[in-house]
């Protein structure tokens, strides 16, 4: 049942992605609420899945890589639904839906839904640490989305090649402001998540701690570069894309590795 909810949710994101791709390709994109509603519907189904899984496990469903990726996809949708309305709804949704689709499709298709060997006991600090860190990833994912939108818009303005999508994308300065706010939101949440990791009362895998700090330093450096005006907006946008890609790869790698490695 829970997996069926997730498949239905993935289909919502697939429909939103395909529709957005078709209308953008045809140059007939019109602002509307379709993408927002599809993401919202997908989010409700994801929430249903996580609730059912959580009840079955007796705690927050973050026991394996599959659940981590579903929670990440849920976080991206959550942040979009919260901050999306501030910007141009439909197009942000058109760019967000494929990101959620890729993460969730990977979770569904990859053989990673393996029940944890050890019986995990409920630990509120551990659940808080994991969930806040993943919601921070959601904000980083939206910064990634805004970064892609910024680069698409900036490229068109520089080359004077204006396509139909040009008229739907938000202005450069608004996109840059969105990137900055999302980076700060993600960084603050990630810092809280990281700090709470030390309160779990459990020994922490060294590899996981190092990787978590690398991601924290990476985003901290981007924000510092932005704050000191050492990085041009285009570079900040590009770094958002690189950093999120690296962070998700690291997330996968450390979860994969720590399932095999003994706690250090």
């Amino acid at each position: 049942m829970d997996r069926q909810l997730l498949i239905l949710s993935t289909l919502c994101y697939l429909v939103a992605t395909v529709r957005a791709a078709l209308v953008l390709r045809a140059g007939t994109f019109k602002p509307g609420r379709f993408n927002f509603l599809m993401v919202a519907f997908g989010f409700v189904l994801q929430t249903g899945f996580l609730t059912l899984r959580g009840h079955a496990l007796g705690h927050c469903p973050l026991t394996n890589l599959f659940e981590v990726f579903v929670f990440l996809a849920w976080s991206v949708a959550l942040i979009y639904l919260v901050v999306g309305p501030v910007y141009q709804l439909s197009l942000m949704g058109a760019f967000t839906a494929p990101v959620v689709l890729i993460i969730q499709a990977f979770a569904l298709l990859a053989p990673i839904d393996v029940p944890s060997a050890a019986r995990v006991r409920a630990n509120p600090w551990l659940e808080f640490h994991a969930s806040v860190s993943l919601i921070a990833y959601g904000a980083f994912a939206l910064a990634f989305v805004a970064g892609v939108m910024y680069l698409v818009q900036e490229r068109q303005l520089k080359t004077h090649q204006l396509r139909s999508i040009f008229y739907q994308l938000p202005p450069l300065t608004d996109l840059f402001a969105a990137i900055t706010r999302l980076l700060w939101l993600g960084f603050a949440l990630y810092t809280v998540g990281l700090a709470s990791g030390f309160l779990t009362g459990q020994p922490l895998p060294r590899l996981k701690v190092i990787c978590a700090f690398v991601v924290w330093i990476l985003y901290g450096a981007i924000l510092q570069g932005r704050h000191l005006r050492r990085l041009a907006p285009r570079h900040v946008a590009a770094l958002c894309i690189i950093a999120f890609t690296a962070a998700v790869s690291v997330l996968w790698a450390i979860n994969f590795a720590t399932q095999k490695l003994p706690v250090q």
Binding site: G27, K30, L157, R229, L231, A232, P233
Partner: protein, 358 residues
């Protein structure tokens, strides 16, 4: 009942002819009282003068033209400029006009506002009855559908509006942006006026002739800057509009880089409408600087026009659907059955604006 349209437009008549027939106050009443129209509405814009009416018997274009001039005879040379549409052709023509398909600039939206005003005027004077009411209400709905379902209004189609459109795509809200006009040409003045209408309040004008700079500055509500000092302004300016008669570039990448080195996160939009160009093309390669010359702006305007033209087919299809639906209602049989059931033509209680938005 015949519904018809008689008129002339930029397609058929020069401006000298059009202005001769420009609507006079009370034209609708004159048409009703002297030309046999049961209902009459005059749509007069700078590009067209058209009479829409409902009459028991068909009316000739010449009769309408005479009524427009309030004279007994019209010039024979003017007669070929008039066109006449009746029944479904009239319906289709109005739907095309309201949707901007018959305009000089395809897809322009001003005509819809002008049509609404003409309709409101005719309603107030009591010359628009149930036939024109239904016809115009439907035309507003069609125009709205054409606008929302196609891209017929997409993009700016003049150099000045393209420049402003680009500025909005870079900065979003233009209020609080600082603009420098280099040179006091007519086109830069026009562009500056569009920027002012979009909320720009900080305009600085620099010209070799300080007197001319002061004159333009007072016209656009800005302040004059001595020509020797304009480069220093670049540090805080967001938009430069350049149109001097200089034969050498006024600004090169090497000159601009140190001027904007401290503003890494603030874009600079440069509109160079001078020929020969005032700004060296390599300036566009500087991070955060977006340079558009007259050819680039013209090319974007042409792209928009081409895009709008591509949308004509889709717009015509929407219009055809509505013409068919309207023609069904307008068939004599349908009207007779409406009268027989007591559900005659609609009452004139609806607000024209609200109805158009339905």
């Amino acid at each position: 009942m015949n519904i018809f349209c008689v008129g002339l437009s930029h397609h058929t008549a020069e401006v000298e002819v059009r202005e001769r027939y420009a609507s006079k106050p009370g034209a609708e009443n004159y048409l009703r009282e002297n030309c046999g129209c049961r209902e009459a509405l005059v749509l007069a814009t700078c590009n067209r003068v058209e009479v829409y009416g409902a009459a028991e018997a068909p009316l000739e274009a010449r009769q309408i033209a005479r009524c427009l001039l309030s004279v007994d005879e019209v010039k024979a040379s003017d007669e070929p400029a008039f066109y006449r549409y009746e029944g479904p052709d009239c319906v289709q023509h109005l739907f095309r006009v309201a949707s901007g398909l018959d305009s000089m600039v395809i897809g322009e939206t001003e005509i819809l506002g002008q049509t609404k005003k003409a309709y409101a005027r005719a309603r107030e004077s009591g010359t628009a009855g149930p036939y024109l009411h239904r016809l115009f209400q439907r035309s507003f709905r069609v125009a709205k559908q054409v606008r929302s379902r196609t891209e017929i209004t997409r993009g700016a189609v003049s150099v000045g509006s393209v420049a402003v459109d680009l500025a909005v795509r870079i900065f979003g809200d233009l209020r609080g942006r600082k603009v420098l006009l280099l040179g006091a040409g007519e086109m830069s003045e026009r562009t500056a006026q569009i920027l002012v209408s979009r909320g720009v309040t900080d305009l600085r004008v620099s010209n070799r002739s300080l007197e001319r700079a002061q004159s333009l500055a007072s016209d656009v509500g800005g302040r004059a800057v001595p020509f020797a000092d304009w480069q220093a302004e670049c540090r805080e300016i967001d938009i430069i509009i350049s149109s001097t008669a200089s034969n050498e570039p006024l600004l090169t990448a090497a000159m601009l880089r140190p001027l904007i080195s401290g503003r890494v996160d603030r874009p600079l939009f440069i509109i160079d409408i001078a020929v020969p160009r005032d700004i060296a093309p390599e300036v566009n390669e500087i991070e955060g600087v977006y340079l558009y010359d007259i050819d680039s702006l013209q090319s974007i305007a042409e792209q928009s026009i081409a895009l709008r033209r591509q949308q004509i087919g889709a717009a015509e299809a929407i219009i055809s659907e509505h013409v068919s639906a309207f023609a069904e209602w307008f068939q004599p049989g349908a009207q007779a059955s409406l009268r027989a059931t007591g559900r005659d033509l609609p009452a004139l209680t609806e607000s024209p604006l609200r109805a158009s938005e339905s």
